[in-house]
Amino acid sequence: MTALGEALAAERPAIGRALWAGALVSVSTVGLASTSAWLIVRASERPAILSLTVPMGLVQLFALAKAAGRYLERTATHRAALSVMGRVRASVARRLEPLVPAGLGPDSASVVDLAVRDVDRVQDLLTAVAAPLAAGVAGSLVAAMVSGVVVPGAALALAVAVAASLAFALLGARWAAPSETSFDEARAALVALVAEVARDPEGVATGEGLALATGRLDALETERDRARARASRVRGLVAGLVSACSGLGAAMALVVTATARHGHLAAAIVAVPVVTTLAAIELVGGLGPAMTGWRSDRAAMQRLEALGERVAPVAEVDGPRRDLRGAVRATHLRVAQNGRDALTDASLELAPGEVVVIRGPSGAGKTTLAWALAKLVDPTGGRVSLAENDYAELSSATVRRAVGYVDDAPYVFATTLAGNLRVVAPDATDDELLEAIEAVGLSALLEPAGLARELGGASLGLSGGERTRLGVARALLAKWPIVVLDEPTEGLDAVAASRVLTAITSRADGAVIISHREGDGVVATRVVELVAGRVVR
């Protein structure tokens, strides 16, 4: 069962309440329109005022019920949507957990980013698409019943008008889809261009770079505008057609009523079919824009489902969490990544007290080797062992108590500096945190708020070098016996890099350091060179 399906099933009572509230809105909208029209026409026949008491009471009742129903419907729909989204969030997080980082393909960060944004669309799907659709259909049914009781043919007129406006809304979404796609493509290219410029404004400023960049910007904007113009013409067409449905529906209702009036339809109810038709169209009228969103919502849900079909890179082993200490040994490792062998034959031994630096060109399999050492990916050949115990027989938890891993782009949580460090060492004292910060040369971050300085979030980003060092500070605090660090000197100048390396090597029992810097080899007891998945030296 799908993540969304499960969440919907679990929140059935909340969804039920939302649907009932929606039905109340539909009934009272149609009720208000038809009873007030009936009241007026009947009043024009000058009956005794007492005979109007019931319609007058109904008019007031429907008016209050419509407003109250709208409020209940909004709150109930959003409550249901939020609860469903909460469940989808939790289940997507559970699906992602075993996949991170090796099971998400070459660009795992953007897969995760996309998943976060896709989950946010659940709310849109339920409140902006599903709820209005349900309300529109329910309202139309009520309206068709009311006007059908008065003039049977009018129900047909109403059904035709409603069906036509729904069909136009759906067709519009389909017609607009190709231009939406090319719009999205132009927009993505535009984002890439702006990011490129923002990364290197000086380089763009000089040597005609600005003229070239604005030229490319203009070309992309033109492409984007062309797609937008097509899409907005389609949306305009749909809005026009839906509006026309309302007028045509009213005209059809009038014609049918006129025919029925020939056959002695009571005068007092002649206004009912036309006003109920207008009320029904009012209820479905807002669907045009919702339908445009529906296609991208559906694509988002499909991407979330696809996450569930990815294969976990580590087969989990049950068993007690053990405290093992000793050498980590990889022998003749072969590891497949993204459909090819990232490692073909890698052997490496790390005895306690050793510092191994792994070097090699990009794509040589350095990161994959680091993952294998931290049991973040299972080898397809060869083995890794910790104190002579094969990783295949150890639980991930056991391995990670002995072998720590710090990735090459350490994540900054949207919390304080202290919170960002305590995430790996909940019991660390402030002094320990300060010492780790000092050791990696991040003291500048203590200004102005000290450990309470907020990091992360949109406006408080850290530079690449600061993130790298935050990762190293975490490694110091986590106190792993052995630590594997992916590019811990990336983005640092020579002085800062040597400080970071000294901090690592003076504290850890054993360390594996991936680096492509020439100078980083000096701290190593051994330098290993990896080329095309093979240890060559």
Binding site: L32, R94, T206, G207, L210, G240, L254, V274, Y411, V423
Partner: protein
């Protein structure tokens, strides 16, 4: 919410005169659609009262009127979005173009993501504000007024009832807003924090896994989800109160009008025809108000984004107008101080000569290079180019003629060729020769997309090739030979020597040149 949409619109109109056209178009189409609504109502009322009087054959006239008005309304409604989009597009392009220039002139930003967001989504939000929010705001002002005037003319008593209900609305909203404001803002912040938790858990999963805490974090998601729902609902309940108020006023006005008309009809004080028109039009008064209210949230993000974009543009600085040199210029540094605590430097760099900049680490060598390139302002003193103060030169033209190599060059584009050519029309043969002369044996098609697939030395030489290919009149190179092995260094120095530009080179190695600028603390 720092600024009202109306105030923002005024600022936007000052920033871009094209905005006025959007406003006029939205008004014309809005009024046209409203008039069509009135004609539709009159036609329907005419048809119904005819039917009540049992003259069935006479409904053809009103139905034709109804169809005609339907056509006009459909056209006005349908034209609104395409017309709005085509009028807003030039505004957006103009804003983005200027914002991009401003970004380039401002130099590196502290927060890359936020800057990129501002120029992409931020500027798009301004457009969305013009296309979606502005017409709905215009309609909310014009349509109810048009309808009220018509209603009052047909039946003044009903006009008064509807007008009073409509006027109650702002008072309702004001009271609700007053009661909710403080609590809303605090809750809003809480929600943002809670909502960020999910993103944090999945994006930071590897950190959590490395210390065996991912399971606990996943378990925490359920609790967080529940409290997020509770706190969001508390906010939404207040927010929906205003939509409740709107709905209540609208439906009560309809009910009240219907009751009063009913009583008056019984006494013969009003004709059925008029009563029906009034009844049909009463809800229409509130429709544009409701639409504007539902646009309010969308418009508030647009307003915030637009305010930021406009703030960026208001930092636009005027460039000088003196023409930039077309040939290698003479550059003079006059008592130039590029950073606090550095001794002022004075020097003359003759046209086409090569001068090196040396000094201890962190003394501001790179800043000096940036100042000469016109990328940064000096603390004091001046740079004269052929005797003209750099500040008086046409900034873009000066930048165009400079070849700038940053200390950490960024390669732009998907392949090595893209990075060198940068959209210029340059033959592959020329690029190849240039790369060969720099001792670079890489394919032109070599991809740059997957991060550091080139060594630091290779990246530096590709960036240098991008500088040289434009044939600049001034070359400002920050550490052009770092990360290079001996053979490449020789090639790079030969290429630099071969240039006829006025050259300023920051280096920590001694180079043979025509002069030397030494920075000291």
């Amino acid at each position: 919410m720092s600024e009202s949409p109306a105030a923002l619109l005024a600022r936007l109109r000052r920033a871009s005169p094209l905005v006025t056209r959007s406003l006029v178009a939205a008004s014309v189409l809005g009024v046209l659609a409203t008039i069509a609504i009135i004609v539709q109502a009159v036609a329907i009322a005419g048809a119904v009262s005819t039917l009540v009087a049992h003259r069935a054959n006479a409904v053809t006239g009103p139905i034709l009127w109804l169809l005609g008005a339907t056509l006009v309304r459909a056209v006005a409604v349908g034209a609104s979005e395409p017309v709005g989009a085509s009028l807003a597009a030039p505004v957006r392009r103009d804003l983005r173009r200027r914002a991009l220039r401003q970004l380039v002139h401002q130099g590196r930003s502290t927060n890359l993501d936020a800057t990129v967001q501002l120029l992409t989504r931020g500027v798009d939000e301004v457009e969305a504000f013009l296309v979606a929010s502005v017409p709905s705001l215009v309609l909310a002002a014009l349509a109810p007024l048009t309808l009220l005037v018509y209603l009052t003319a047909r039946d003044w008593l009903s006009g008064v009832i509807v007008a009073v209900s409509a006027l109650l609305l702002p008072i309702f909203m004001w009271l609700l807003g007053l009661a909710a404001k403080d609590a809303m803002e605090q809750r809003w912040r809480d929600q943002q924090r809670l909502a960020a938790y999910f993103g944090d858990v999945v994006r930071g999963m590897i950190v959590l896994k490395s210390v065996n805490r991912s399971g606990a974090a996943l378990a925490g998601l359920d609790a967080i989800g529940a409290s997020l729902t509770a706190s969001t609902m508390a906010t939404l309940r207040v927010a929906f109160l205003s939509s409740f108020a709107l709905e209540l006023l609208s439906s009560l006005a309809t009910a009240l009008v219907a009751l009063v008309l009913g009583l008056r009809l019984v006494h013969g004080a009003v004709s059925l025809d008029v009563a029906l028109v009034v009844l049909l039009l009463t809800p229409e008064v509130f429709v544009p108000l409701r639409r504007a209210a539902s646009q309010y949230h969308a418009s508030s993000t647009g307003v915030a984004a637009a305010a930021e974009v406009l703030a960026l543009l208001e930092g636009e600085r005027d460039s000088g107008t003196r023409p930039a040199p077309a040939r290698a210029p003479r550059i003079e540094l006059v008592d130039l101080v590029v950073a606090a605590g550095v001794e002022p430097v004075s020097a003359v760099i003759e046209p086409g000569s090569l001068v090196t900049v040396r000094g201890p680490s962190g003394v501001g060598k790179s800043t000096l290079a940036a100042v000469i390139a016109g990328l940064a302002d000096p603390v004091s003193g001046a740079v004269l180019v052929n005797g003209v103060d750099l500040a008086d030169l046409d900034r873009d033209a000066w930048h165009d003629r400079i070849g700038w190599l940053a200390q950490e060059p960024v390669l732009r584009g998907a392949t090595v060729r893209d990075a060198v050519v940068q959209g210029r029309t340059v033959e592959d043969r020329v690029v190849r020769e240039l790369l060969d002369s720099l001792d670079l044996d890489i394919e032109l098609e070599h991809p740059l997309t997957e991060g550091a697939t080139l060594s630091a030395g290779e990246r530096r030489r590709v960036a240098l090739a991008a500088c040289l290919v434009a044939l600049p009149v001034v070359l400002v190179l920050d550490e052009p030979t770092s990360h290079l092995d001996a053979a490449s260094e020789v090639a790079v120095r030969a290429a630099i020597d071969a240039s006829t530009a006025t050259r300023v080179i920051v280096t920590h190695r001694r180079l043979v040149g025509d002069g030397e600028i030494v920075l000291e603390r």
